[in-house]
Symmetry: none
Subunit: 414 residues, 2 copies
């Protein structure tokens, strides 16, 4: 049975950098395994969304899994919630939240409440979870903290809408924003009212909470408000098992990616030591991938570290991180059956060490497998892959190309 | 006046094959003329439908003629009927049929009725054609046998639907299936009832037919049932003459391709000795193409043989067949005015000698003509053409590119 691995190195593609003598981090990194994949495979470049559109990691991953992000993307909130283990059902509206410190006039003093510890956040969360919405609202909520100040809020009930504004001003020193409906539908007014009410009940509970009294004694910022943003629903997509009759798994540290994969019907595999940072345990991820492939037809392996280095504008760290990903790939390649496995290596977007942002440039791709039309590309990089046999494809093409190699796309016509 | 020829070698593209030392049949075939076309022309790769989607020959040809198969494809039945010379009007529903042998419990003993001769099938057909549907059905039918056990059925009347199931179980030893509506519309129920009734009347006539008595004496399987499948209508398309003001012709042996071309408003040119097999008369097709170009602006030349060899997994025969197609092209090129003719050479899909199936990989294309932007590609093959100046295009792009070379596309804008 043919199987496939899709390796996504977050933000790995870059621009030619002055500090690297006009080369990209990929071009200067020591990466014998990536080069081997390019040499033995068919290469090309991919526009994850469309030429010139800077992708998010969520939209790019949605596209790579074969779904049109323009059609199905419905905000980060719900994906992040699903990825952090909160159940989000069709019709629910989910938000990304922050514990924050505000003054008496509701001016935000610290959007991260002094990067509150997981422990304090958990204690506060337990109290907030006990709140009951008035029966007349005809809605319930799920609130869950994730890492440090971060949390997830899900509103459940009939007739909800994502067309409501954020309360998070996204900047310290600004006032908390009113949550308001963004259109004239009654669903939007209703949802804004529910969330506003809930935030004010949260505020009442937090104001008097023992944790905040302890924090005051320790001279730590109080977590006396919950900011929310990014109202979203889960994308309406047909999951991969149904589309291709495959069992698939996701190995990723980042909630957002886990959320996308979960929604696509993939099993989430937890890896000890996978942190989503440059200090992640690359070898643990490699081993988990090899293991997952024994029980799954398709495994998505996501590494966040390259993006983290890029957002810090740290080209040297990015080069080093690429070397570590190369080591991870070496372990994977040496422990899978190359006569029965296709492996695609790509990045979800270009993150420029110059702008420290996601950019709209295409990303390199290389695919190895038993019957790919190997081309003459000998190096894995943005520019070398542009000369490959795949030419230039779209993110949404990738999954069907892989599934076609696995014999899992249906003929159209006769 | 500029003219164009589109040569489609069915299933000619392939994968690198172990038995050919990792080369594709195109890469090892002796094909000086194809290489000349690549050298003198502009090359590229084409996704007939979309990357990773295995095309049918019908959907790919529809795309190459410039029509979106996703929008207009409406089943094989009607195309095959039109291609075999049966008139199919808008609103008609057409089926592919088989004369079959069934036992008294309607278990299919032989889906091909012992590959009944054309003569026997024609005699049975004449009797079936005399059947009249009861007036209350408000419908008529056309039934016509084509080659051996194959036949075509067209139902004509108001309010018909293609949403009905097949009676053909597609396997010997299984029972004939009930023809049932596939949705709740009254049109579907009505169509299913008409076809069911007709099949039972067919059965009554065949049971007592002298041909079957003779076949029994000769110990041949009786043709005592007509199985049908693939309910379809003709695609709603604007024909080529109307779109581009051209007179166009199709040279193909296969009914399905002839059907597509007929529906697109092309003249069908019969060629003696064109069989749709590796033993087809390649030179006769070449001569017919040269001749057709004198009276037409655009000629589509289709050769089925490469696909036949691929479905048999016969790489050596495929290589040999490509050599014969090359000879055919040599004759064409030597007998047309190269200063006034564009010629495009492509395949309608990849058919892998490994899987013996249509695959979702792109196919090579090369176009010669007086003003094409000749590139540096020197060989006609899947991989060499991938480095060409056309890069990677879609099947639906091809016709407009050709018509543009002929000055027959209208400027959009000013």
């Amino acid at each position: 049975m043919l199987k496939a691995i899709l390796v996504i190195a977050d933000g790995m593609a870059d621009w030619p950098l002055k500090e690297l003598d006009g080369k990209t981090p990929l071009e200067v990194a020591v990466k014998p395994t990536m080069n081997q994949i390019a040499r033995d495979g068919v290469c090309g470049i991919v526009d994850p969304i469309s030429p010139g559109t800077p992708p998010g990691s969520d939209t790019a991953t949605i596209a790579f899994l074969g779904y049109s992000p323009m059609e199905v993307y419905s905000g980060r909130g719900a994906l992040e919630a699903v990825g952090s283990g909160v159940e989000v059902l069709r019709g629910d509206v989910a938000f990304r939240c922050n514990f924050a410190s505000v003054d008496k006039d509701l001016v935000v003093l610290d959007r991260r409440a002094g990067r509150i510890s997981n422990e304090d956040a958990s204690r506060l969360t337990r109290s907030l979870q006990r709140i009951k919405l008035k029966k007349s609202f005809d809605a319930s909520f799920v609130f869950k903290n994730t890492v440090q100040h971060r949390a997830t809020l899900v509103i459940r009930g009939p007739k909800l809408s994502t067309a409501i504004s954020d309360s998070d001003p996204e900047q310290n020193g600004k006032e908390v924003l009113e949550i308001e409906p963004l259109d004239r539908r009654s669903e939007s007014a209703r949802t804004a009212a529910i969330v506003s009410r809930l935030m004010s009940e949260f505020r009442n509970v937090l104001a008097e909470h023992p944790v905040n009294k302890e924090r005051a004694r320790r001279k730590q910022s109080p977590a006396n408000f919950v900011l929310c943003r990014g109202a979203g629903t889960i994308p309406k997509i047909i999951p991969l098992p149904e589309l291709y009759n495959i069992k698939s798994a996701c190995i990723a540290a980042v909630s957002l990616i886990k959320g996308v994969c979960k929604v696509a019907g993939m099993d989430l595999i937890s890896v000890k030591g996978a942190t989503g940072t440059p200090k992640t345990d690359y070898m643990a991820k490699a081993k988990a991938t090899v293991k997952a492939l024994k029980t799954h037809d398709f495994v998505l392996l996501h590494v966040k570290a390259t993006d983290v280095a890029s957002h810090d504008g740290n080209a040297r760290l990015k080069v080093e991180t690429i070397g570590k990903i190369d080591g991870m790939l070496d372990h994977v390649l040496k422990n899978i059956d190359l006569d029965a496995t296709h492996l695609a290596l790509t990045a979800d977007h270009t993150t420029s060490c110059v702008t420290r942002n996601h950019e709209g440039d295409p990303v390199p791709i290389a695919i190895i497998g038993p019957y790919v039309r190997r081309d003459s590309v000998r190096e894995y990089s943005e520019r070398a892959c542009a000369e490959g046999g795949l030419n230039r494809i779209r993110g949404t093409d990738l999954m069907r190309i892989l599934m076609s190699f696995l014999g899992r796309t249906k003929k159209f016509g006769s």
